[in-house]
């Protein structure tokens, strides 16, 4: 089995388990303020780290390339409060242009 298949199956099983758990456990188990606070911060750190790693790294090296142009377009689109598909498509276009100019 390839790593991709393991990831698809493992992620799906655990994702459902978490969803089902929420519907089934007594409310007091997950309503501790500490759990709530950590739960608010988890997406912030993981998503930000995913932005960083997917923008400026190739394997174990830090490399600045055409993807940064795409990221700049995405940030600009976000500052103008444009909708999600525009952000993603804009980033792709910006990155593609930079790629063709060999950045």
């Amino acid at each position: 089995m390839t790593p991709q298949w393991i990831a698809v199956i493992g992620t799906s099983l655990l994702a459902f388990t978490l969803k089902y758990l929420g519907h089934s456990v007594p409310a007091s188990w997950l309503s501790h303020p500490r759990i709530q606070r950590i739960n608010t911060l988890i997406p912030i750190v993981l998503l930000t780290a995913l932005v960083a790693v997917n923008s400026v790294t190739v394997k174990t090296k830090i490399i600045f390339d055409h993807r940064l142009a795409g990221l700049a377009v995405a940030v600009t689109a976000l500052l103008f409060k444009l909708p999600f598909p525009v952000i993603v498509a804009g980033a792709a276009i910006g990155s593609a242009i930079a790629y063709h100019f060999k950045y």
């Binding site: 790593p3 991709q4 393991i6 990831a7 698809v8 493992g10 992620t11 799906s12 655990l14 994702a15 459902f16 978490l18 969803k19 089902y20 929420g22 519907h23 089934s24 409310a27 997950l30 309503s31 709530q36 606070r37 950590i38 739960n39 911060l41 988890i42 997406p43 912030i44 750190v45 993981l46 998503l47 930000t48 780290a49 995913l50 932005v51 960083a52 790693v53 997917n54 923008s55 790294t57 394997k59 174990t60 830090i62 055409h66 993807r67 795409g70 995405a74 976000l78 999600f84 598909p85 952000i87 993603v88 804009g90 980033a91 792709a92 276009i93 910006g94 990155s95 242009i97 790629y99």
Partner: protein, 213 residues
Amino acid sequence: MSVKRDSFSLSFAVGAYGTAFGAASVTAHFTVLQSCLLSLLTFSGASQFAVIGVLGAGGSAISGIATATLLGSRNALYGLRMAPILKVRGLKRIVAAQVTIDESTAIATAQKDEADQVTGFWHTGFGVFVFWNIFTLLGALGAKAIGNPSAWGLDAAVPAAFIGLVWPRLNDRKSRLIAGAAVLLSLALVPIAPAGVPIITTALLAIIVGWRV
């Protein structure tokens, strides 16, 4: 019946960005079938992007699963919130659990009337499910058809999707500080840790800060 209309428009808007997921997933070397299965079975946008993001960057299946699972943990809290409103058991609870996501919970909890909360949850949950899966397939097939992902900017679509997901959460000083720390920590670890580890390690920042403050 404005709750049904709201559910539909949100479902379509959110579902359409399944195109970005499908394309990104194929770019990260998942097959079209694997991409579609992630949308059908995992059905949680941030977790799906995370698993393909980690493996696409060369990370192991384990670190991909761990990152995606931590991102999916908020769905458990949504379930906790929705259970007393929905009051479902058995098979219906299984279905409700699967469509417990950001959007279905957001629409439901925005309604005053309890009947509207239930309607909003189911309509948005099913609506996003249907559109998200259709558009994932289209995005995956599209990306497969066009070849070199860099030439079409698809390698930048992945970080752009992540920044779009995290942006609304960076609404105070504390969030922005911890996000900055996550960037520094993950990039500092990239040259020395196996791929995927730099990302999941930032969860420690959330645990340390969330524990104390």
